[in-house]
Symmetry: C3
């Protein structure tokens, strides 16, 4: 009972902070109130929607209980009315996104375990739930998806979900495991934000001429590249 409550609270907090992050993107793009509601709602419930579809938990959670849908709409409208207050909305957006990421990594994995999935799938669902709201936000908002940037982002979701699942399997009580997973994801993502940490990126082998390197980095152009071997 308490367990369920803890997870429900995590999920609701995640929905609210992601809705805020989506609405802040709309604010940066100077959209109208409908754009705020669309981006806020899609970001707030997008990750959980994809999770429910993949797990076959249909109809999706906000059709079964539309409270989260109404909450996203209300939060987005509130951001529309008040978004001029924060001095730098982009900074707020990044931290709201980090909190949502950590919350959904745990609650997504927990939902998957509840419907009988194994550990690997539960970790994957934590990652999907934590990241797909942001993917939908960025694709709709016409920005480059943050999940593919070189910052540590998906890695933090992965760590949080894995810590939660491993702690459960080691016999930890669920509240402790959830706290551990949230903290792990939040610490790693927070450190990445504060110190601009990133993973090493793929680099072409040494010995290429600058010209070769430049051409490898080009977007694929079917016509021109086709005859290179």
């Amino acid at each position: 009972m308490l367990v369920q409550t803890v997870l429900t609270v995590l999920d609701w907090c995640g929905i609210v902070v992601f809705a805020i992050s989506g609405a802040l993107v709309a604010s940066r793009k100077q959209m109208d109130v409908v754009g705020f509601v669309l981006l806020g709602t899609a970001t707030g419930i997008g990750g959980g929607t994809v999770r429910d579809v993949l797990l076959g938990q249909l109809p999706v959670f906000w059709v079964r209980a539309p409270g989260s849908l109404v909450t996203c709409v209300a939060v987005s409208c509130l951001v529309f009315a008040t978004a001029h207050i924060p001095q730098s909305r982009y900074r707020v957006l990044l931290w709201a996104d980090a909190v949502g990421l950590a919350l959904f990594a745990v609650s997504g994995a927990a939902t998957a375990l509840e419907v009988g999935a194994g550990a690997v799938v539960a970790v994957a669902m934590g990652v999907v739930t934590a990241t797909f709201g942001g993917v939908i936000r960025d694709v709709l908002g016409g920005e480059s998806p943050v999940v593919l940037s070189r910052e540590i982002y998906v890695t933090a979701a992965l760590l949080g979900a894995a810590a939660f699942v491993l702690a459960l399997q080691a016999g930890a009580p669920r509240e402790l495991a959830a706290g551990l997973g949230f903290t792990a994801a939040m610490l790693l993502r927070g450190a990445a934000l504060r110190r601009a940490w990133s993973l090493p990126r793929y680099r072409p082998r040494p010995g290429r001429t600058p010209d070769e390197v430049r051409r490898l980095g080009e977007p694929p152009d079917d016509g021109r590249d086709r005859n290179r071997t």
Copy 2:
């Protein structure tokens, strides 16, 4: 019986006009016939597909009854053969899109009510059904999603779906409610098209320097913005 017929007719008309709008995007991009079929079909059945998935009505409608799939393919091929006739394809596209929007707002809400959803979810499903075909068309076609433009677009779908659901709840017969919903959505979207109506957009608070305003409108650049507070 008649009710079902009215809704089926609405749905078919919506599929056809959205297929036309998708194929017209392909025509503007000078694609080949396969591009016409892909964009036309994805636009025609995309909104209803997302609706069915979210509601758990699986397999989706065009797997259960592939007539709509075949229709979309045929309509797209027809547009490929005849799209040189309209003088201005873009204008035609906008109006085809408006008719489809109004039709799907009503039929999407009606489908949700039929499978037992409440009023809030029904209105949301009307909006999803009416807009996601266009979202898929724009994302695949590499255009900025029309749902996020400042024009009145989603608002019209929202009005149509809400008018339909409210009229039903007030006891109106279904044909009347459907007609009311369609008319409301079509009038609002038509007026927005003819008079370039739009909702007020979010504006940064007064007192910012032009330089600050410019920077707030920039696409997020993680590297540069990270250290602003």
Copy 3:
């Protein structure tokens, strides 16, 4: 029994080559290892995931049996470690993509038939399974979707799926039909790659001035185009 084995082998090969193609896109974009895993996995299992959702085969295949998920992760990491070996990764990517396309066209259609779909839906599912992994890869990777390029791509998937379904309906044994479908798709796609074949694209009617033609090819700009008739 043997039949099932053949299809399972086809499916696994398709997953591996598509995972490679997704990871190679990450390599061209010089992402970190998480980017490789994300793009590789989304490309490898994306087409089958969309197929399962549309057919209502939920939870999707990699939730039921996470082996394919683990394989995609492993393959992507392997590409991250070794992608400097191929002289031209883009050429390799195109051919890996072609093999995956042919494999999934057949296995997607076969899966649809197994769950009771008719011939039209089976062919459509072959096309969806074969192409959506690449669509997801291109949308996430920020490239123009290859399915909408003027090359023969979707057409090859369509030919392979149709050849497989027709051969089955003509009474051919399943291994033969699968081989026929794979060969047809592979030959057509291979020829398109080697000889730069393409379908005729839509051209505006003769008689337009160059200026008119130029404007028709422009991206839609709601503000400017609205008043043209």
